[in-house]
Amino acid sequence: MTSTIAALISPATSLSVAHVLAGSLILVSFMMLYQDRLSSVINVLALHAAVLGLAVGWQAYIQGAPELYITAALALGFKAVVIPLALHRIVERLGIHREVEAVGGISLTMLAGIGLVALSMMVMLRTAAHADALAREDVALALSVILLGLLMMVTRRNAVSQIAGFMSLENGLILAAAGAQGMPLVVEISVAFSILIAFIVIGVFLFRIRERFDTVDSAALDAFRGELQ
């Protein structure tokens, strides 16, 4: 049944849908960069995971790889619902509703983001020139999502926004893995990453980590590390 429907969709259409979904992931990554409240960062993160779920689900469908549906379901259920709920709870418990500021300001961060997307397109499209169309553009888009996630992590001080950055980075990875047709262990890897994320979230919850422990006050930092004489 599925195969007959798949036959009705032309390869060009299935490719465009895959690109639209992967492209939306980049868009949502940008949305995350300009959020200035923690709760909205978390909401955008949930949206990010949901888009990833759709993108991976579409890959599962056009590649005829049913095991990828597990990865898609994991994104839709665990990363789009459970983790955001847990993060909302952390924000509530730790009382960190306040605004989060990006290091270097929003506009600079956005500019850097555009630069990173251009960079990854230039590098990956050229590198993957011989790969098939699906993999080529998918990897290029995925690298953009990964770099934007990294950018999110380095520009935010707050532990919750760092988790959001890491999760969006990881979403980019899952997108790349799903796009690499027939790559084995994708499901196992996505499960391993979900465990890692659960770990990080539980860590924040248990130890009430609010901020990345670095400060511009280097004396305080040295004292903390036992480096003060």
Binding site: A129, A176, F199
Partner: protein
């Protein structure tokens, strides 16, 4: 016999896995520390067996001349550290730093870490290798934070975040390698197997391999503590329990380096790729200089030796990067000697910190007077790590500098200067720690010094006369590494 050899490979993973399960249920810490030692010993026996009877590669496991060195070293230092750990934690329990409940967790995690590292070493599959490194990272993250002090939680949080980013980038590199292999080897598991990849290395897409290697070098390089991705390393070494500092420096960094080496061999098999050695050698040189300069500013004894580990990882990465038969032999020897020496140093530093109740260098004075045995072993350890003859590190550094001189004199001068810079820092600190008027306050140390003597003894023996079989073996591996 082949059947048995495969069983031995499985045992290097299954023994620690079963032990982890048993240890997580074991209420008595005394018994647990013994089981920990026993399981580690069994793992050593299994890897020693593999040395004699090597199985043919299967789809899951690959034992060759390269990883058997790492595996044996890994399980051996894992074993001696478990012996050290047993006496170390007894003291931590007495002083109330740890509770029996945390110890149960600690022992189970120790074996989980061994599972992860051994898996990464013996697997024939890129994906499983990645998984092994992740497992080893997560288990060490939890052990670094075990004291639950703000500083140790900060250290493990930093380690977790940086380690996760490293792991993520390494996975992206792995995906790119798969994409490079897919057109040649077809979809599925076959394109993720080392044996297949190496056989067809010349046919793989070179551009994809290049970009993949860069991500892998950054990703696994984070775990190997290469500058500028090293930030987690000093904190994790300083704030965790000392046995964990010993295995981080002695083992985990090696495993990360091993993964990079494997990919380097893959790139060397393809003529059209970039020279991966240049990237590794420059990362190594930068790490060496950075760490050597940072060594002068250290106030915390464990943190200082952590920077010394960055320095040595730099030297090793440089050696493998420069490559050639002699460069690779020097790299392998340096790696082995560093593992043994640095873990021995951390064993004695653990005793010192317990004897003096502090890790601050300024508060530890005149160890050779107050604790002669401990003081002199630390002197010997620091002399060995700084590269003084007659210890093994002198041999490997000498070999590296002379072989580099023949090929790139400027690099050799830089390398020699970096090593001397670090040497100076270590010597200044060592004289302050070990000689002069002893500082006040000292507890008696009852812990066993056998692991320290064993490690330093091997380092000394190899320094005095490198056995012919070891040299032949290294020479053979060196040709594999290209």
């Amino acid at each position: 016999m082949t059947r048995l050899a495969i069983d031995a490979v499985v045992a290097t993973i299954a023994v620690p896995a079963v032990a982890a399960l048993i240890l997580s249920l074991m209420p008595s810490w005394r018994l647990a520390s013994r089981i920990n030692i026993l399981a580690s010993l069994l793992t050593v026996i299994a890897s020693a067996f593999l040395l004699l009877h090597r199985p043919a590669p299967t789809s899951l496991f690959l034992i060759d001349d390269l990883n058997i060195v790492f595996l044996l070293l890994n399980s051996f230092v894992g074993f001696t550290t478990s012996v050290f750990s047993a006496s170390y934690i007894a003291h931590e329990l007495d002083t109330g730093h740890l509770t029996p409940r945390y110890l149960r967790f600690y022992h189970a995690m120790y074996q989980v870490m061994m599972v992860g590292m051994n898996l990464a070493l013996v697997t024939n599959n890129l994906g499983l290798m990645w998984f092994g490194v992740e497992l080893a990272t997560l288990s060490t993250v939890m052990m670094v934070g075990i004291y639950r002090t703000p500083a140790s939680i900060e250290a493990s949080w930093k380690y977790l975040i940086l380690g996760s980013v490293g792991i993520a980038l390494a996975l992206f590199g792995t995906i790119l390698i798969y994409l490079a292999a897919k057109p040649v080897l077809g979809t599925g598991m076959g394109a993720m197997q080392w044996t297949n990849l190496l056989r067809h290395a010349a046919a793989l897409d070179p551009a994809m391999l290049n970009v993949g290697f860069v991500f892998l070098l950054i990703g696994y390089g984070t775990k190997a503590g290469l500058v500028p991705m090293h930030a987690w390393l000093p904190d994790a070494h300083a704030e965790g329990p000392t046995p964990i500092s010993a295995v981080l420096s002695g083992l985990l960094l090696n495993v990360a380096l091993y993964t990079i080496l494997r990919f380097k061999v893959l790139l060397a098999g393809s003529a059209a790729t970039i020279e991966p050695g240049i990237l590794m050698a420059s990362a190594g040189l930068v790490s060496l200089f950075f760490a050597a300069i940072m060594l002068y500013r250290r106030r915390d004894i464990k943190r200082m030796f952590a920077y010394s580990s960055i320095e040595h990882m730099g030297i090793i990465a440089f050696a493998f990067g420069i490559g050639g038969p002699l460069g690779n032999i020097a790299g392998l020897l340096q790696m082995m000697m560093h593992s043994l020496t640095k873990s021995a140093i951390f064993f004695s530093v653990g005793h010192v910190a317990q004897a003096k109740d502090t890790q601050k260098i300024t508060e530890i004075r005149g160890l050779t007077t107050s604790h002669p045995l401990l003081g002199w072993t630390l002197v010997a350890g620091v002399a060995a790590i700084a590269g003084l003859p007659p210890f093994g590190i002198f041999t490997s550094e000498f070999l590296l500098i002379t072989s580099t001189f023949a090929r790139a004199p400027i690099l050799a001068v830089l390398l020699g200067f970096g090593i001397l810079l670090a040497f100076g820092a270590l010597l200044i600190r060592m004289t302050a720690l070990c000689f002069g008027q002893p500082s006040s306050g000292s507890n008696a140390i009852t812990a066993s010094s056998v692991p320290i003597f064993l490690h330093l003894g091997i380092v000394l023996l190899i320094g005095l006369a490198l056995p012919a079989f070891l040299y032949d073996w290294f020479a053979h591996v060196a040709t594999l590494l290209g």
